[in-house]
Symmetry: C2
Subunit: 189 residues, 2 copies
């Protein structure tokens, strides 16, 4: 059932780095994105796949992790993502991509969750560095980095309290807590 999959699909920032994700698996996830809605069906999204140590390290160095957990500078060696999908917008097709980037990214991450992986949709990569390291042509806008692997952290959802604080946090057992707004607070009418 979709609800179970949606709830299981938690943003994950620590991985079993030693468990690889095959390139073929990542291709199958991208294949899912071919069938999603695209404004005027223009389908301007393009993809790069990385699952080798050298490129992974380059990509990792461009990313900021978990803004609200200031004491944590990101996953340590051994718990870093074993693979990345980089989503690009092809400016030869159109020049705005954000909405369909979201549609495609969610579909890919749900697909990853269904087959036992997890990951994080990262919008925080340092664009110029990433472009330089991976030699990405200026024709392509860098939209999102999807980190994908076998999750090595526990994430729990909780209800945002009456103060409306939505900052995620980690408890003493290193469990990651994510407060979500209540349904009655998001439906206005």
């Amino acid at each position: 059932m979709l609800k179970e999959l949606v709830m299981k699909n938690r943003s994950c920032r620590r991985f079993h780095q030693e468990i690889p994700v095959q390139r073929e698996t990542l291709e199958q996830l991208i294949d899912l994105s071919r069938y999603v809605a695209s404004p005027h069906n223009m389908q301007p999204l393009k993809y790069l796949i990385f699952c080798d140590e050298e490129n992974n390290e380059k990509i990792f160095s461009t990313i900021s992790w978990a803004r609200y957990i200031e004491s944590w500078k990101g996953p340590a060696q051994g718990e870093r993502p074993p693979s990345y999908i980089i989503m690009l917008g092809d400016t030869a097709i159109k020049d705005h991509f954000e909405r369909e980037a979201g549609i495609a990214a969610q579909t890919i991450m749900l697909g990853a969750t269904e087959i036992g992986y997890g990951g994080c949709i990262l919008g925080s990569a340092h664009q110029d560095k990433l472009r330089e390291y991976l030699k990405i042509d200026n024709r392509y806008r860098i939209l999102l980095v999807l980190a994908i692997g076998k999750p090595a952290e526990k994430v729990v959802l909780e209800e945002a309290g009456p103060d409306g604080d939505i900052k995620y946090w980690r408890d003493k057992d290193d469990v990651h807590h994510v407060p979500k707004r209540k349904l009655e607070d998001i439906i206005l009418e």
Copy 2:
């Protein structure tokens, strides 16, 4: 399996208008969106639900349909959407919403498809009119209109040809054809 659901979830523009969608059903679909990824977990999306004739007509009058099918001015009386979800961005929380609007919209439409409905993610509503008709406060950015109902059209996917033409079209039996780019054309590396 997710792939089946993703493929079944076709943008649909003609509905069995006489088959209503209950408000409770639309609330359950919006509930799905509470559990999706949101940058910095800020969750700025808010929703309006409409499933009554008077408001539906107002909303319908603000929408442009199917740009590529010039001879068709949109669904006729009797095949119009029986319900709408309007997605808003709460500027009291943040000021850019597009990516997570896509993430949430896709999740809601997959949920609708799972329970036998279908619909269309519409970004083309005339914003000023919609705001006026529905008395939407300036605090909220109008992001998307999701038309939802029981589909009354056949949509088939096909592979985009070598010329790369992605314009959808209708055949003589009124079947809606949607060309999708090949996997090898969207994975660059």
